[in-house]
């Protein structure tokens, strides 16, 4: 269900998860746009030479995935904070799941707090954090 007003938000509800595009082509598109176009994000072999498991999805791209999930759930939501900890790397061309759960609703301020995670197919958390978003009340 798409969220239009604060009344639509339920404490404890899961935001619809999505699988982001972590293909090399998409990560390169992001890296170029962000000004982070370095081989560790865009070239598996170069990344492995640095001792990494492969080219990495930039942490800031994971933040972008999390923000996109919030907008898909609540198109009018105004993101006011995305606070993330990068616990383990996300590797390009691997499958990840972008997840969120509502953990607080401040009806007076119109603010919703969301716990965020990026997990892999083994259900390991690679990124976690918190978002605060403003959602308008009922007119």
């Amino acid at each position: 269900m798409s969220i239009n007003t604060l009344d639509d938000v339920e404490f404890g509800e899961n935001l619809p998860a999505f699988q982001p595009d972590t293909s090399l082509a998409n990560v390169k598109r992001f890296a170029v746009a962000a000004g982070w176009n370095t081989p560790r994000f865009t070239d598996h072999e170069a990344a492995r030479r640095e001792g990494l498991p492969g080219a990495l999805v930039p942490g800031i791209m994971s933040q972008g995935f999390l923000s996109a999930m919030i907008h898909r759930w609540a198109p009018s939501a105004e993101v006011r904070l995305v606070d993330t900890i990068f616990r383990a790397p996300c590797v390009v061309d691997e499958t990840y799941h972008i997840n969120g759960v509502v953990t607080d609703i401040d009806e007076e301020a119109g603010e919703v707090e969301i716990d965020l995670t990026v997990t892999n197919d083994a259900q390991e958390t690679r990124v976690f954090g918190t978002a605060k978003v403003l959602i308008q009340g009922t007119d």
């Binding site: 000004g35 800031i60 972008g64 996109a68 898909r72 993101v79 993330t84 990068f86 954090g129």
Partner: protein, 152 residues
């Protein structure tokens, strides 16, 4: 930059370096790159993906992608410990739009410690603040943690 070998004197560092702007520059965002950034992240709303949309703006996490030209204040010591990226927090306040000059100022916002079984960890938080003509558009914090090597 000096090389510290003993325990980190957090209070002395806080007194000397907190809240002093050590990097400042101006940038202007490009509409096509912003649209690419948002689309690659999976945004679907036109205000993030279509430069022709009347409300077109940068995705809210864009501030995390900005980087200071200088990473630490002049005179800030280097430490013999294991340094790691401890996270990023971005707090947009107003939309950032293409073609609008944005001033990026960086200061050291916090230095604090946590002590665990493996010893003491020292966290350094750099805050970038974004503004246009004095109007604050948001902030982005980058945290680095140093795990101190045990003293022998």
């Amino acid at each position: 930059m000096s090389d510290e070998t003993g325990p980190i004197d957090v209070e002395a560092l806080r007194d000397k370096f907190l809240n002093v702007v050590f990097d400042e520059y101006e940038l202007t965002l490009d509409a096509e790159k912003l649209a690419d950034y948002a689309t690659a992240c999976g945004e679907t709303a036109a205000k993030f993906t279509d430069p022709q949309d009347p409300d077109f703006q940068a995705p809210p996490t864009i501030g995390s992608s900005f980087q200071p030209k200088v990473r630490y204040p002049e005179g800030f010591p280097t430490f013999r410990g294991l340094g790691m990226d401890a996270g990023k927090a971005v707090a947009p306040d107003k939309p950032m739009r293409p073609g609008v000059p944005i001033t990026v100022r960086t200061h050291m916002h916090d230095i604090y410690t946590k002590t665990g079984r493996s010893g003491r960890m020292v966290f350094f938080v750099n805050r970038m603040e974004f503004s246009n003509s004095g109007e604050i558009l948001g902030t982005a914090d980058t945290s680095v943690v140093i795990r101190e090597k045990p003293q022998t």
